[in-house]
């Protein structure tokens, strides 16, 4: 990234366990380096309501499981120059997508959670976003520029990708990627 202006970084949390965000915070001293070069403009780590325009890099954790997430992801894609799938849920669907093996899983998970496993008020709520029939990795919904697999992705890999990008280079994942 050529200019002296700080790089605008956003993060987003879809269907995931927040482990990827933990990994992001786990990059230790690299965080201090990064902090000098980036401005965190959106994400669960900051208190900003709307996804801003003109974001340089967006890291997204989690798979796409409901309608709202489809909208959020599409907005993030529109407003970001580089979009990165962070972690196995975003890259493959991972644990949230395990329900894909079952028929009508969108209904089945709600039934299981809110009726069968619930002691009181056994009703499926109507005020939550509608679940999709299947859970998708990000790249099946929008174009994704880089992938950092891992469950969670190793902090070093997140650091590597961000550092390379900030230096204007293309990160190479051979021998680096880490599923699971």
């Amino acid at each position: 990234m050529p200019t002296n202006a700080k790089t605008k970084l956003a993060t987003m949390w879809l269907s995931g366990c927040s482990g990827c965000h933990m990994s992001l915070l786990d990059i230790d001293e690299v965080l201090l380096d990064l902090a000098k070069k980036i401005q965190l403009v959106y994400g669960p780590l900051v208190d900003i309501k709307n996804f801003p325009e003109g974001v340089d890099v967006t890291l997204i954790e989690g798979a796409v499981a409901n309608k709202e997430q489809v909208e959020m992801l599409k907005i993030a894609r529109e407003r970001s120059r580089i979009l990165i799938a962070m972690g196995d849920c975003a890259v493959t669907g991972n644990v949230p997508a395990l329900r894909n093996s079952f028929e009508d899983s969108d209904q089945a998970v709600l039934q299981r959670e809110f009726v069968e496993n619930s002691d009181i008020q056994q009703t499926i709520p109507t005020d939550v976003p509608k679940l999709l029939k299947k859970v998708y990795p990000l790249h099946e919904v929008v174009k994704v520029d880089f992938f950092i697999p891992g469950c969670p992705p190793p902090a070093g890999n997140i650091a590597y990708v961000l550092t390379e990008l900030l230096a204007g280079k293309v990160p190479l994942m051979e021998n680096k990627s880490k599923y699971g």
Partner: protein, 234 residues
């Protein structure tokens, strides 16, 4: 026994080796890495996974290095851009074919498919993944087969037939529907011919066959076939 030696080139390495070996075997002996999955030292070479394909100078076709014998003057190219791209494609196809979720798999970190994906830089699968619900059989006292993780390399079938000498495992159906079966598609506890020797679990490159309650790092022993054979010869 007198065996002829042949001279060949694998990438930039000049090699002399005994006639009768395959390209892959020769490469492994000489510390040259050619990705492979279905090949296992000591078992019949089936050329099924197509990861070990190489180019031979002067030939238009690609060759599976596991089953192609070396010959004098051969020049093998193991890592052209095309081969790299094809191997990545193959890994992606395998990952997309059934339900491979590393984070919840017994073989996580002990998986040859996962390791190859990481090594070859398959950071995502471009194809739509299938989320299968194939049969999982845990009826045996300690052996489990989860067909959702099977990549149909048939190492288990071969080790059972060729090393254990039992042929309790085989395939049914064809194409994408192919499945590993025990005896006549029985549940494993009813399979009379199985000797419970665990060799299938030892050689499974992924987490499709495993021993319940035992870490796969303990179970896996990909040298088993070669070891048994070497003892037999003596």
């Amino acid at each position: 026994m007198t065996t002829k030696t042949v001279s060949l080139k694998i990438d930039e390495h000049e090699i002399t080796a005994q006639e009768g070996k395959s390209i892959l075997e020769t490469a492994i002996e000489n510390g040259i890495d050619i990705p492979h999955l279905c090949f296992l030292a000591g078992l019949t070479k089936t050329g099924a996974c197509r990861l070990c394909i190489v180019e031979l100078k002067g030939q238009a076709k690609l060759f599976a290095s596991c089953s192609t014998p070396i010959s004098d003057g051969m020049e093998v190219i193991t890592n052209s851009e095309k081969l790299k791209a094809y191997r990545k494609n193959t890994i992606q196809l395998l990952l997309s074919e059934r339900t491979h979720v590393c984070s919840v798999c017994v073989a996580n970190k002990n998986c040859e498919l996962q390791a190859l994906a990481d090594k070859l830089g398959v950071e995502h699968v471009a194809f739509e993944r299938e989320w299968t619900s194939e049969n999982v059989d845990s009826s045996h006292p300690f052996l489990v087969i989860d067909r959702n993780r099977c990549i149909l390399c048939t190492r288990c079938v071969r080790v059972c037939d060729e090393i254990e000498g039992v042929h309790a495992l085989d395939l049914k159906l064809r194409g994408k529907d192919s499945q590993i079966i025990v005896d006549f598609d029985d549940s494993w506890d009813k399979a009379a011919s199985c000797t419970s020797c665990r060799k299938c679990a030892k050689v499974c490159p992924v987490g499709a066959i495993y021993v319940e309650g035992e870490p796969l790092s303990e179970t896996k022993d990909t040298g088993i076939a070669d070891f048994v054979l070497s003892r037999r010869k003596k």
